[in-house]
C-alpha cells in the first residue's frame, strides 16, 4: 500500500464510525430534543388548560418548591424509601447469596426460580400483591399472619401499612437481582486468600469480615448503585397500589411530578419536579460510580 492509498484509507476510517453511528444518533437526537424542550418548559408557567397564561418565569417553579409542603414530604419519602429499600435488599440479598454459595441441595432450581420475580413487569407484580394484601381476612397475607397472632393489617389504607407494602413488593421483585449478582461475585472470587486465611486459622466470621466482604466490595457497590437509582425513581408499584396515598404518605418525587403534570396538567411545575429528581439521581450515580471505581481498583 503506497502513501496516498494509505492516507485515503485512513480518511475513510476516520469518518466511517460516524456513518455507522448515524441511525442511532438520529434516534438519540429524537430523545434529547423532547428533554431539552421539557427543560425549557420547567422555566415557564405552562398549564395545559390555561394556554393564555403561558409565561417565562425563570426559576420560579424551582424556588417555589421550597415552600411547597408536598415537596418536603415527597423528598423525604423518596430518600427514606431508597435508604430503607437498598439496606433491606442488599442485606438480605447478601445473606441469600452466601447461603446459596454453600453447597445447598437444589441450588440450581432455586436460582432459576428466583429469576421469575425479577423478570416480572413491576406493575403486574404490584397487582399480584394487591390481591394477596386485601385488607380483611379474605387476603391471604393477613390470613397467614393471623396464625402468628397478628391482627389484620390495613395494607394500603394506613400510613405504616402502605409504606410497608411498597417496601415488600419492591423487595420481592428486586431481591433476586441483588442475590444473583452477589452469588456470581462470590463464585468468581480467587481461592488463594481463603487458603491463606485457613492456614492462619481464621474462623468463619473472620473470613467473612476480612476476606469475603473486601473482595466482594466492587459487586456490593454495583448492586447498591443499581438499586439506589431504581429506588429513587420507583413509580409503577406505587401507581398500581396506593397512588401516593393515604394522605400522600407514599408520594415520592416521581409520583408528585406525575400528579402535577397529568392530573392537574401543570406541565411547567411537573417538569421542574422531574428535573429536581433527575439531578438527585445524577448526583447519587456520580458518587456511587466514583465509589465503584475505587472499590474495583483496590481489589485488583
Amino acid at each position: 500500500m503506497n502513501t496516498a492509498q494509505r492516507r485515503h484509507h485512513w480518511r475513510r476510517e476516520a469518518f466511517l464510525p460516524y456513518l455507522l453511528l448515524a441511525p442511532a444518533l438520529v434516534l438519540l437526537a429524537g430523545m434529547i430534543y423532547p428533554f431539552a424542550l421539557g427543560s425549557y418548559y420547567s422555566l415557564t408557567s405552562y398549564w395545559l388548560q390555561y394556554p393564555k397564561r403561558f409565561r417565562f418565569v425563570w426559576f420560579d417553579n424551582y424556588v417555589n418548591l421550597v415552600t411547597e409542603p408536598l415537596f418536603a414530604s415527597a423528598l423525604e419519602f423518596t430518600l427514606g424509601f431508597t435508604v430503607a429499600a437498598v439496606a433491606l435488599q442488599v442485606g438480605l440479598g447478601l445473606a441469600i447469596a452466601l447461603f446459596l454459595h454453600g453447597r445447598i441441595p437444589g441450588r440450581g432450581a432455586i436460582r432459576a426460580l428466583m429469576l421469575l420475580p425479577l423478570m416480572m413487569p413491576p406493575v403486574i407484580t404490584a397487582l399480584m400483591w394487591k390481591i394477596m394484601m386485601a385488607s380483611t381476612n379474605a387476603g391471604i397475607l393477613n390470613h397467614m399472619l393471623s396464625f402468628v397472632g397478628v391482627d389484620p393489617i390495613n395494607w394500603f389504607g394506613s400510613t405504616g401499612g402502605a409504606v410497608a407494602s411498597i417496601l415488600i413488593i419492591d423487595t420481592w421483585g428486586n431481591l433476586p437481582f441483588v442475590a444473583l449478582i452477589l452469588l456470581g461475585g462470590l463464585q468468581a472470587l480467587p481461592n488463594e486468600p481463603y487458603e491463606a486465611a485457613r492456614v492462619d486459622g481464621a474462623g468463619t466470621l473472620a473470613v467473612l469480615r476480612y476476606v469475603t466482604l473486601p473482595l466482594l466490595s466492587p459487586f456490593i457497590v454495583l448492586v447498591v448503585l443499581f438499586r439506589t437509582m431504581d429506588s429513587l425513581r420507583i413509580f409503577d408499584v406505587i401507581y398500581a397500589t396506593t397512588l401516593g396515598g393515604p394522605n400522600d404518605a407514599t408520594t415520592n418525587l416521581h409520583i408528585m411530578a406525575y400528579q402535577y403534570s397529568f392530573q392537574w396538567f401543570q406541565m411547567g411545575k411537573g417538569m421542574a419536579q422531574a428535573i429536581v429528581l433527575l439531578l438527585i439521581v445524577v448526583i447519587c450515580s456520580y458518587l456511587l460510580m466514583r465509589l465503584w471505581n475505587r472499590a474495583s481498583e483496590s481489589t485488583q
Partner: protein, 289 residues
C-alpha cells in the same frame, strides 16, 4: 449422650439449611401459586373468609378475558384484553427491530473503532438507564398531541427506544468485543471491507449474543408501563396498562385481574427461562458477565 455430638450437630445444621431453602422457595413461588389459584376461582370463592385452597376451579375468568366480556352490569368499561395483548406484541417487536437495526452498526463502531467523543457517547447511552421517565414523558406527551403520534403504535415504538436502544447498543458492544481481533484482521487481509467484516465475521459469530439481546429487549418492552400509561389510549394499551383497567371506580374484578396478570406475565416468564444465563448481564447492561 450429650447434644453436642458431631452427628447431632450435623443433623441440626441440615435441618436448618433445609428450612431456610424451603422458606426462600416459598417466598419466591407462593405469589405465583396464589394468583394462579385466584384466577381459577369463581365469584363465590373469591372473597371467602378464610381464603380457600380447595374449591371447584373454573376457567370463567380466562373466558371473560378472551371474549372481552365482563360479568355484571358495567359492560361499557370492559377492558379489551386480546387487543392489549396484540398491542404489546406489535409495540415490543417494532421497538426491538428498530433498536437492532440502528444498534448493530452503532455497537460495531463503539466496539471496533477509535474516534473522539467515543467514551462520552457510551456514557450518555448508559445514563438513559437511570433517567426518571417522567422527565421524557411530559414533553413527549405534549409533542405527540401536536404531531398526531399520541395513541399510535409508531409513537410508542419511538418512545420505547429510550428503553431498548441504549440497552441494545451496550449489550451488542460487549458481545462484539468478545470476538478476537485476530479473526477480524485475517478477514481484512483476505480483502474484506468493513462491511464484509461486519456481515461475514462479526454478525455470524455473535448470533447467540444478538438473540439474547433481542429476547431481553423484548422482555423489557413487554414490562414497560409508564410510557404507555401516558402516551397510549384504549386502542393502543399494552397488557401492563390493560391489567390495571380491571380496577374501576365501581369494583375491582379480582378474578379477571388475576387471570390478566397470569396472561401478561406468561410470555416473559417463558422467555426469561430461555436466556437465564444472560439475565444478570442484561440487567446491568453488560457490567457483570
Amino acid at each position: 449422650m450429650s447434644a453436642q455430638t458431631p452427628s447431632h450437630q450435623h443433623l441440626v445444621r441440615n435441618v436448618a439449611i433445609a428450612l431456610a431453602a424451603a422458606l426462600l422457595l416459598l417466598w419466591t413461588v407462593f405469589p405465583f401459586f396464589w394468583i394462579l389459584l385466584t384466577s381459577l376461582k369463581g365469584p363465590g370463592d373469591m372473597l371467602s373468609v378464610p381464603p380457600k385452597f380447595v374449591f371447584s376451579p373454573t376457567l370463567d375468568n380466562y373466558a371473560a378475558l378472551v371474549m372481552g366480556e365482563q360479568r355484571g352490569q358495567y359492560s361499557s368499561t370492559r377492558p379489551d384484553f386480546p387487543l392489549f395483548f396484540l398491542n404489546s406484541i406489535i409495540i415490543s417487536v417494532g421497538a426491538v427491530a428498530l433498536s437492532i437495526v440502528a444498534g448493530i452498526p452503532a455497537a460495531y463502531a463503539l466496539a471496533r473503532f477509535d474516534f473522539p467523543l467515543k467514551s462520552g457517547l457510551a456514557f450518555v447511552l448508559m445514563s438513559f438507564r437511570f433517567v426518571p421517565f417522567i422527565a421524557f414523558v411530559i414533553p413527549l406527551y405534549l409533542l405527540y398531541q401536536r404531531l398526531g403520534l399520541y395513541n399510535t403504535h409508531a409513537g410508542l415504538i419511538f418512545a420505547y427506544q429510550l428503553i431498548t436502544l441504549p440497552f441494545t447498543i451496550w449489550m451488542l458492544r460487549s458481545f462484539f468485543q468478545e470476538i478476537p481481533l485476530e479473526i477480524q484482521e485475517a478477514a481484512k487481509i483476505d480483502g474484506c471491507s468493513w462491511l464484509g467484516v461486519l456481515t461475514k465475521v462479526i454478525l455470524p459469530l455473535s448470533m447467540p449474543g444478538i438473540s439474547v439481546t433481542v429476547i431481553l429487549g423484548f422482555i423489557f418492552c413487554w414490562n414497560a408501563f409508564n410510557y404507555p400509561l401516558m402516551l397510549a389510549g384504549r386502542q393502543t394499551f399494552p397488557v401492563t396498562v390493560g391489567a390495571i383497567q380491571f380496577i374501576s371506580y365501581e369494583q375491582v374484578l379480582w378474578g379477571q385481574m388475576a387471570a390478566a396478570t397470569i396472561v401478561a406475565a406468561l410470555p416473559q416468564l417463558v422467555l426469561s427461562l430461555m436466556v437465564q444465563k444472560y439475565i444478570v448481564r442484561g440487567l446491568t447492561m453488560g457490567a457483570v458477565k
